[in-house]
């Protein structure tokens, strides 16, 4: 082993160091976790031509090619140009160079459940939204973990991402179409928050306050008495993370926001990160950035220029509950407190 390799440079080219000297793994982004199946042939070709013949399904829904020799990296970068062009530029409208591999680390892929193109429970098209979000967050050296789930089941584990985006529906009750069978009451009780009950005249009463917007009621109604408002709404969870230090579940930042609001908010992440890190990108979880700035500052910067839709609600405060691997992990000298904003 006598190679002189700039690991950091390769990392920023989306090549991850292997424990096998001289080998690297490529992580190919799949924004929204769905692409044309034709790309699988390409991935297979890369794995079998330059990789070790295996393929790994990335933990964030990337297509991973392990075991690529250092000297083959330029060839692979050249070969994936078409993939980048089609998936990033054409499909997601991302503005980036594609002739030398990924322009930055791509492993923090925008993950999404299958969404309403297939799932009977999903409330929106997760792929469409992922493709709109991709150009807002990629390529950038301020990395963000985002996961999109079609419904509050949160199969995408948005609760453990910097941003978890959960599709919810505002339900409309067509009183005159209700046959009073109680299917919705049972479904809500069994699968959601149990906000439905019978009225004395065998129609349905709803505690709108605690409705999570899952749409189970519409899914089970035999008469079409429950329908979803055509406008798509989202719950935005923030600050969730895994990790060695203080994993925690994300908490609701915004509830019942429309897509326009969501896109504007996510668009503010770059500015917020840059301010927190004083324009010195560090590869760390978004939740730590929120901790450094404090929730109030985060809220202020993320909502800058945002006109909230009338249904939207915003968390006043967030009470985090970390897993404390060490007791009182947060009790540290003032000098060691994380700092946000300008350093000088």
């Amino acid at each position: 082993m006598n190679q002189d390799i700039n690991i950091k440079k390769l990392q920023k080219n989306c090549w991850r160091q292997s424990k096998v000297p001289g080998e690297f793994m490529l992580q190919m982004r799949v924004p929204g976790s769905m692409i044309s199946a034709k790309h699988l042939e390409r991935v297979q070709y890369i794995c079998q031509t330059w990789g070790n013949g295996n393929f790994h399904v990335g933990m964030r829904h990337t297509l991973n090619v392990p075991g690529v020799k250092y000297e083959d990296i330029p060839a692979v970068n050249d070969y994936i140009s078409e993939y980048l062009e089609e998936v990033e530029c054409d499909m997601c409208d991302v503005d980036m160079e594609t002739d030398a591999g990924y322009p930055t680390i791509g492993s923090r892929n925008i993950m999404a459940c299958i969404g309403n193109t297939h799932c009977i429970l999903a409330n929106y098209n997760t792929q469409d939204l992922a493709r709109k979000l991709e150009p807002l967050v990629f390529p950038s050296h301020y990395h963000i973990k985002m996961s999109l789930s079609g419904c509050p089941n949160d199969c995408g584990k948005g609760h453990f991402n910097d941003f978890g985006i959960v599709g919810i529906s505002k339900m409309v009750y067509h009183y005159e179409r209700c046959i009073g069978c109680g299917m919705c009451i049972d479904a809500c009780k069994k699968h959601a928050t149990g906000v439905l009950s019978f009225t004395e005249d065998k129609k349905i009463a709803k505690d709108t306050c605690c409705c999570v917007g899952c749409g189970e009621c519409a899914t089970v109604c035999p008469a079409g008495a429950w329908t979803r408002r055509p406008t798509k709404f989202f719950r935005v969870l923030v600050g969730g993370r895994t990790g060695k230090q203080s994993p925690r579940m994300g908490k609701t930042f915004l509830n019942w926001v429309t897509e326009d609001v969501l896109l504007t908010v996510i668009g503010n992440w770059q500015k917020f990160s840059a301010w927190v890190l004083d324009h010195q990108p560090v590869y760390m979880h978004g939740g730590h950035l929120i901790d450094m700035a404090g929730y109030d500052k985060f809220k202020e910067m993320m909502l800058e220029g945002v006109t909230l839709n009338p249904e939207a609600t915003v968390a006043q405060r967030i009470l985090w509950t970390e897993t404390e691997y060490r007791a009182q992990i947060n009790v540290i000298p003032l000098s060691e407190h994380p700092k946000a904003g300008p350093r000088k």
């Binding site: 309403n116 009977i120 999903a122 409330n123 929106y124 098209n125 079609g150 599709g167 529906s169 009183y175 005159e176 179409r177 209700c178 046959i179 009073g180 069978c181 109680g182 299917m183 004395e200 005249d201 065998k202 749409g215 519409a218 899914t219 089970v220 109604c221 035999p222 008469a223 079409g224 329908t227 979803r228 055509p230």
Partner: protein, 344 residues
């Protein structure tokens, strides 16, 4: 001889007719389907000819126009019950041959059964005029031909949709003058003669076989498959069952209204008496009850025809893909088995 109307001409006709008629037709309700971003087609008032949905089967049947899911029949006070009011205009309903034949069964129950005519049904039904929507293709869930419900003569007008607009024939002299002056064009209404699916309705020779069939293990499969939601009966063009429910306006229950609300024999509690005793306690029991009504019990009572008209809405709406014709075929096999065992 028929009349050729372009869509603008048809709109003008609808406008003129509206002085005397309310026009009902299958109409699209966007994004109001069971699942997110799916549509639903159901009967509603239409003002323009283009609103009529031709290219898919209405999810719910035309029966809702005459016997709505929720209908106030009386208003009551301490002293009296007063009949609810009804409209005065005639109702022009656009519907297919199976749907017109279904009304024959609705009429049997509401107007003839027990020698008692139901006032609330009759007061609407008397004002109904049918406009037959020519149906020559059907859909994959249709089996009207097997049920002999693919043809009808019972209509005031018939209409075909083609690339040039609408072509009407108007046998009803009451309606004909409204069409006079439009371009004449020969039009002979055609009927579908072959569905994708054919069923043979088995004969049940006697009560003994009937009661053995009720206990046959074939029904057990529905305990696993059917969720007793009642989607089939709400969509069914021939189901008539309802429950009366009182809506009370004041604390002392002195004033309120009495309603009829569509009921489903598939929903648990349909046969539950005041004391709590229930006869059909499983999904299998309830499925058997419905299926036998449609293809045996009704005919045993009224003679000429089976109740089912093969519109296939039950299969189309079933969230668990239980096919009604497939179930009939299973029943036919069970009957054969029972009869063969008896002969031995």
């Amino acid at each position: 001889m028929g009349y050729r109307l372009s869509y603008p001409e048809a709109d003008e006709l609808f406008r003129k007719l509206s002085a005397e008629y309310e026009i009902y037709a299958p109409k699209l309700f966007e994004k109001q389907g069971r699942y997110s971003d799916t549509d639903i087609v159901r009967y509603d008032r239409v003002k323009r000819a283009e609103e009529i949905v031709w290219d898919r089967k209405s999810d719910f049947s035309a029966k809702e126009v005459v016997s709505p899911i929720t209908q106030t029949i009386f208003y009551f006070t301490e002293d009296e019950y007063r009949e609810s009011r009804t409209g005065a205009k005639k109702l022009l309903i656009f519907l297919r041959p199976c749907d017109i034949n279904a009304f024959e069964h609705q009429d049997k129950i509401y107007l003839e059964n027990g020698g008692i005519a139901d006032v609330f049904y009759q007061r609407v039904r008397d004002r109904v005029r049918f406009v037959l929507m020519e149906c020559t293709e059907g859909w994959d869930t249709c089996f009207c031909v097997s049920m002999g419900a693919n043809r009808t003569n019972d209509y005031s007008a018939a209409v075909r949709r083609d690339e040039n607009g609408l072509l009407f024939s108007v046998p009803d002299p009451e309606l004909a003058p409204h069409f006079a002056g439009n371009r004449e064009e020969p039009f002979e209404v055609r009927f579908i003669e072959q569905n994708d699916f054919t069923v043979e309705i088995p004969e049940i020779p006697n009560k003994d076989v009937l009661n053995k069939l009720k206990k046959h293990p074939m029904w057990q499969e529905f305990n696993d498959r059917c969720i007793s939601c009642g989607s089939c009966t709400v969509a069914c063009s021939t189901c008539t069952c309802f429950t009366t429910v009182d809506k009370i306006y004041d604390e002392n229950a002195h004033a309120g209204e009495r309603r009829r609300v569509a009921a489903s024999c598939q929903v648990a509690g349909f046969d539950c008496m005041a004391g709590g005793h229930e006869f059909r306690t499983t999904a299998a029991d309830r499925m058997r009850y419905r299926v036998l009504h449609k293809v045996h019990d009704y005919k045993a009572r009224f003679g000429d025809f089976h109740m089912c008209v093969g519109c296939g809405r039950c299969s189309a709406r079933c969230p668990k893909f239980i096919s009604f014709p497939a179930t009939i075929n299973k029943m036919a096999a069970a009957i054969k088995e029972i009869v063969a065992a008896e002969r031995q």
